[in-house]
């Protein structure tokens, strides 16, 4: 019985409602944070930080945004990529219009632009649900892609049509563009993602989160209890898009250094949806598991044959990746809709009883 809650009695409701009511979970999260904040920066090289850690964290953040909307509030969206783009372009405009304001402030502000756009595109959710809502969000994706490509003001009339990140500093240390050290960028991304994950977990445990889940599970009953559907859904759209927007801004400013329309196209939306499905609908932990899995699968598929001295070409890697992801999506949708996060919970359940089979 390595993992158990027996004997840990809660004497107050406050203790019972804490983020990690079980002591092992609390110790576990402290250990993970210590590894992420201390061990990783000391041991990982730039390549690992840039190609594994930073993108995984950024996609996990965007996946949290999508999961709040789809997994918690039950509103299917195929527009997350577009909302990330709104954050990215907003941050770019803010950074060039107000160059003296700290870039971190711009990153947090840019989320509000995405939230506003998400709010507007969430309006149809009053009337339409499920598949039809997904189509409406798809329309928002295409509209936003069109806007990023055609409205030259958004990319400051660059000939390339791309946005290029200017160098900005924090306490004199460069944190954006190629002059910034990956480890600095990693630590900033990590701090922001940890902060916003904590906020999301506060939200879903409180009355707003419960209202979202109620609307998701049975909107009629929710309404009869006094939950107003439209404000509840719109808030989910706005907050979800805020997360996507901040993730988009981080993606450009803390990772890629430049971006164009394709960086926020429909494929990104689908990839995020896959992360949420495989990680687990309605689970914050699942967002990290899903993002880590989907983002790193192709890297892993390329690296493994090389360890054995063979080389597999890129096209083959892509095919294998499609087959694995496709298979897993079908598996999770049919067998375990709550994804990897649920499998982890089941594993914990087993550990609790270990070594007894029942």
């Amino acid at each position: 019985m390595l993992y158990r809650e027996a004997g840990q009695f809660k004497t107050t409701y406050r203790a019972d409602q804490a983020v990690f009511p079980i002591r092992q979970d609390f110790i576990g999260i402290i250990a993970i944070l210590a590894v992420l904040f201390v061990v990783v920066p000391l041991t990982f090289n730039d390549f690992w930080l840039k190609s594994i850690m930073i993108p995984t964290l950024i996609f996990a953040l965007a996946a949290i945004g999508l999961n709040l909307l789809t997994g918690y509030a039950g509103q299917l969206s195929l527009g997350t990529g577009g909302f990330m783009g709104v954050g990215a372009y907003a941050c770019y405009k803010l950074a060039t219009i107000f160059p003296d304001v700290n870039i971190l402030i711009h990153i947090f502000l840019s989320g509000f632009f995405a939230a506003g756009v998400g709010f507007i595109f969430g309006l149809p959710s009053l009337r339409i649900k499920g598949f039809y809502l997904a189509v409406a969000t798809l329309a928002s994706q295409f509209f936003l892609e069109w806007a990023f490509g055609r409205i030259a003001w958004l990319y400051n009339y660059n000939d390339s049509g791309a946005i290029e990140v200017p160098t900005r500093t924090l306490f004199g240390v460069p944190i954006t563009s190629a002059t910034a050290a990956p480890v600095t960028q990693y630590l900033i991304v990590l701090a922001i993602v940890v902060l916003l994950t904590w906020v999301a977990s506060n939200l879903v445990r409180g009355r707003f989160g419960r209202a979202w889940m109620a609307v998701r599970d049975m909107d009629i009953a929710a309404e009869l209890i006094g939950i107003r559907l439209l404000p509840t859904k719109l808030m989910a759209f706005a907050i979800s898009s805020y997360y996507a927007g901040v993730a988009g801004a981080l993606m450009v400013f803390m990772w890629l250094g430049a971006a164009e329309v394709e960086s926020f196209d429909i494929n990104v939306s689908f990839q995020l949806l896959f992360m949420v499905i495989i990680g687990g609908l309605g689970s914050l932990l699942g967002c990290f598991l899903g993002a880590a899995f989907i983002w790193n699968l192709p890297i892993f598929l390329r690296a493994v044959p090389e360890m054995f001295g063979t080389h597999v070409n890129a096209a083959t890697v892509e095919h294998i990746q499609f087959m694995i992801v496709g298979g897993l999506i079908v598996f999770f949708l049919i067998v375990e809709p709550n994804g990897l996060a649920r499998m982890w919970a089941v594993a914990k359940e087993k550990l609790r009883r270990w070594p007894f089979p029942y």
Partner: protein, 266 residues
């Protein structure tokens, strides 16, 4: 016993008055010109064969269906039709014939949602679960724990309701309705599909809700024994029409009611 309880039910203060309500769906007349009242503190049963329009009547009362004709007077305020949100804010709660719980949420969270209208703290505090947000959550948690104790469902507090057996789901749904601290509680077949023991438990809870909280209850039930034991007054519907209204004894001996229940051709 309070003074109100000693009065004969029919002379208590009026809480809800349904007058000449008719409701149809396309060609189907679900309710035809039905009038009856519900008085404060009583347990009012609505009975009748399947398809008589009982569920439709509850849906009219809490604003889910909008009748084509008639007036609904609740707490002295008259309306052609109720709206779900007004019903909720004015203290009308209900349970459903086919349990309408939030299946992915735990028992505790389901009952907590019943407190929605009583929770006011803004988004800002909830982002950090701090100050008023934390205080409010804990206050309401205490209220909800009282309901959990009352319904004897402590053991399933953290279980997602989708995994509970049907009988317990019905109990959780009652808990969610009670969490609204309703003035009028509508119960749609609260004992359908239960075994004898579960029915006895549920009957006890309904009587306790009535006597301890003074909640007015309108309930639909098929089991005549239960109806006779629980209710102060009974209204009988058949084919959307009211065929009888009175105390359980009066209704039991009414010839139209006997015919309706024995399936005599109309």
């Amino acid at each position: 016993m309070s003074a109100a309880e000693q009065l004969a039910p029919a002379s208590r203060e009026l809480l809800l008055n349904i007058e000449n309500v008719s409701l149809s769906f396309g060609g189907v007349k679900a309710i035809r010109d039905v009038s009856f009242d519900v008085r404060k503190g009583e347990i009012r049963a609505i009975i009748g064969p399947n398809g008589a329009g009982k569920t439709s009547m509850l849906n009219v009362i809490n604003g889910f269906y909008h009748p084509q004709e008639g007036t609904i007077t609740y707490r002295g305020e008259s309306r052609r039709d109720m709206r779900p949100h007004i019903a909720a804010t004015q203290g009308i709660a209900r349970t459903f014939q086919n349990v309408a719980l939030f299946r992915g949420m735990t028992t505790l969270d389901n009952i907590m949602t019943g407190r929605t209208l009583k929770m006011k703290t803004g988004l800002f505090w909830h982002l950090f679960r701090w100050g008023p947000a934390e205080t409010e959550e804990l206050e309401h948690r205490e209220q909800v724990e009282r309901i959990i104790d009352f319904l004897e469902i402590q053991a399933i507090r953290k279980t997602p309701v989708g995994r509970l057996p049907y009988g317990l789901q019905k109990r959780v749904e009652l808990g969610r309705a009670l969490a609204m601290e309703p003035e009028l509680l509508l119960l749609d077949e609260p004992m359908a599909g239960m075994n004898l023991e579960e029915k006895e438990d549920m009957s006890r809870f309904i009587l306790d809700v009535s006597s301890q909280f003074g909640t007015t209850i309108a309930l639909i039930e098929h089991d005549m024994g239960v109806v006779m034991d629980l209710s102060d007054r009974v209204v009988v519907l058949d084919y959307g029409q009211k065929i009888a209204d009175g105390t359980p004894d009066e209704v039991k001996s009414n010839q139209d009611v006997i015919d309706a229940y024995l399936g005599v051709a109309h």
